[in-house]
């Protein structure tokens, strides 16, 4: 039997004293591609954020690669893509600089980057198809390209598990396809993916299993639900992410 990469048991999470997850179980084994689905506010984002240690659990247990979250230290094994609309911050940074930040989990203090580090960064940038943009400022890229920068950053530590929080939100079709290609390459090497999705898009053929959350409980766990089940109802709204280009100070 393949080893459990993510093992969540009886997880309860409260945000601002409001219960968001009520006793959730989630298991992802080596080489699996699992997607979390559910309407806005169903708790799917909270579940992945708790899994990577960004949100404290009120009760229950989270294990990563068999180690309880509290004593987990091998952070390079996890490539995390947070839910973002921009890869830019208050100061300009190139694609390469942002992606290189993903390599820090493998680097030690006060040591310059080694050849292996630089190659891993190059490779991650190629993986998402941005090699010709590596020297450009991330703030000048389209929303989809910025999302791909974040995925490359997660891939730069050569992780065994990719955790992606809505990587397709507000992303143009071309970037979605580039992302699907990158994910296919990643999965082909036997590694594991846990992702939160709003809609499947071109990723559907890659996904092994879907876990559907509703109001903080798992209501479906198994082969992909049919499209009518992917949301607990018709979409109530669409987020408009077009205005989200990160502009630096004074523009």
């Amino acid at each position: 039997m393949r080893a459990a990469v993510v093992d969540v048991r009886g997880l309860r999470v409260d945000l601002d004293d409001r219960p968001v997850l009520h006793g959730v179980d989630l298991k992802v084994v080596e080489g699996e591609v699992v997607t979390l689905l559910g309407a806005n506010g169903s708790g799917k984002s909270t579940l992945v954020r708790t899994t990577v240690g960004l949100v404290p659990a009120a009760a229950g247990e989270v294990r990563l690669f068999g180690t309880p979250l509290k004593s987990f230290r091998d952070w390079w094994r996890i490539g995390y893509v947070p839910q973002r609309t921009t890869a830019a911050a208050g100061v300009p940074a190139t694609v390469r600089e942002v992606v290189a930040a993903g390599r820090l989990a493998r680097r030690s203090l006060f040591r310059p980057a080694r050849k292996a580090d630089r190659e891993a960064v190059d490779h991650a940038i190629e993986l998402v198809g941005l090699a010709d943009q590596a020297g450009r400022s991330v703030a000048n890229l389209s929303g989809g390209q910025q999302q791909r920068v974040l995925i490359a950053r997660a891939a730069a530590s050569e992780p065994d598990l990719l955790v992606l929080d809505e990587p397709n939100a507000g992303v143009d079709h071309r970037s979605q396809e580039a992302f699907a290609r990158a994910l296919r390459t990643f999965v082909a090497s036997g590694r594991t993916v846990l992702l939160v999705l709003h809609d499947m898009g071109p990723l559907a053929p890659l996904v092994d299993r879907g876990v559907v959350l509703d109001s903080g409980r798992v209501v479906h766990d198994g082969p992909l639900p049919t499209p009518s089940m992917t949301l607990t109802g018709p979409p109530d709204h669409h987020d408009d992410h077009r205005e989200d280009y990160g502009a630096g100070l004074f523009g």
Binding site: L54, P82, P92, T94, A105, R153
Partner: protein
């Protein structure tokens, strides 16, 4: 006789160079983190520290470091809690710093003129002892800002990602706050507590008009911090004004000069991005003047795009549309 023949001017110039390097070094991280006003608040808080020094007779350099560091840690804790009322709490801390400073200075029997030398700098007041403290602190701040650049960059770019990378984010966050507090004290004698934040922020803002990478923004900001600092101190030698004012005005002049260049660069880059937008929006964007017809033999790489063929031309895609080409 040149101004360099005076000991006090030599000390003031050395302090100016160190301040001009340290302030933008920390400032780059503060701006990246969108905490540009933190230096301002710390300057307010440090004033209370100076007043404590005046009251007790201890060196104001040390008392202001101590109080500013405490203030910085308090700010960082409030920020990390992330409560909605955090900005109000910070505002009260800042006002408390100024009011406490003026109040305690009054109790110490010092005059407003003494206070002014700390608020806006004073080239004649940098003692040899002060200079040593300033030099050691500035060198430590600059060494940390450069040596820990990869880690500090990651934390300031995306705190959550840095945490999942296993970086001790709280520790780095506090380190940045403490570095900012120390820099405030370093800068106190040249640019002054009320204007120190300008020297942290303006060189960075000027620098990023011209740059696209973090590394060059950082390096250029340091240069853009030193030049106005030295120029401002020299100006204050000839014209009797507080050096803080002349340093900040010189720094702002730099920004005003860089702005048109920056907006030109931005327009160019925006044009490059717009060349790509039609793929997303499906908008109809005719290409500019076109000297030849694209075909498989024209030398421009052909790209299959859905139901038609685009030609890669100077970094954007051209698609035949009637008698002209569209940007795809």
């Amino acid at each position: 006789m040149s101004f360099l023949d005076y000991d006090f001017m030599q000390r003031a110039l050395i302090a100016a160079v160190l301040t001009g390097l340290a302030a933008p070094a920390v400032g780059t991280y503060l701006v990246q983190r969108r905490l540009a006003l933190m230096g301002d608040g710390l300057g307010h808080v440090a004033l209370t520290g100076v007043a404590v020094g005046l009251l007790t007779g201890w060196a104001p350099v040390w008392t202001s470091v101590a109080v500013a560091v405490l203030g910085a840690l308090a700010i960082d804790v409030v920020r990390a809690k992330g409560r909605a009322s955090a900005d109000v709490a910070l505002a009260m801390l800042f006002y408390g710093g100024i009011a406490g400073g003026v109040l305690i200075t009054g109790l110490a029997g010092s005059t407003a003129a003494t206070l002014n030398t700390y608020l806006f700098g004073s080239i004649t007041t940098v003692s040899a002892d002060d200079l040593w403290v300033v030099a050691v602190l500035a060198v430590v701040v600059i060494a940390l800002a450069v040596g820990l650049a990869p880690q500090l960059f990651a934390v300031c770019q995306d705190e959550e990602f840095a945490r999942v990378s296993g970086l001790p984010v709280r520790l780095y966050s506090m380190l940045i706050a403490v570095m900012a507090a120390v820099t405030v004290t370093v800068a106190m004698r040249t640019v002054g507590l009320l204007l120190v934040s300008a020297l942290m922020v303006v060189p960075v803002a000027t620098s990023q008009q011209l740059t696209r990478s973090f590394r060059t923004t950082f390096g250029l900001a340091l240069a853009l911090g030193v030049v106005p600092s030295v120029a401002g101190v020299v100006f204050s030698y000839y014209v009797d004004v507080a050096p803080g004012a002349s340093i900040v005005v010189a720094s702002l002049v730099g920004f005003v000069l860089a702005w048109p260049v920056g907006s030109l660069l931005r327009r160019r880059r925006a044009a490059a991005v717009n060349g790509e937008d039609p793929r997303v929006t499906g908008a109809h964007v005719p290409a500019e003047q076109h000297p030849h017809q694209h075909d498989p033999a024209c030398g421009h790489p052909a790209v299959e795009h859905g139901d038609h063929t685009d030609y890669l031309h100077d970094g954007h895609l051209h698609a035949a549309h009637g008698r002209h080409y569209d940007e795809h």
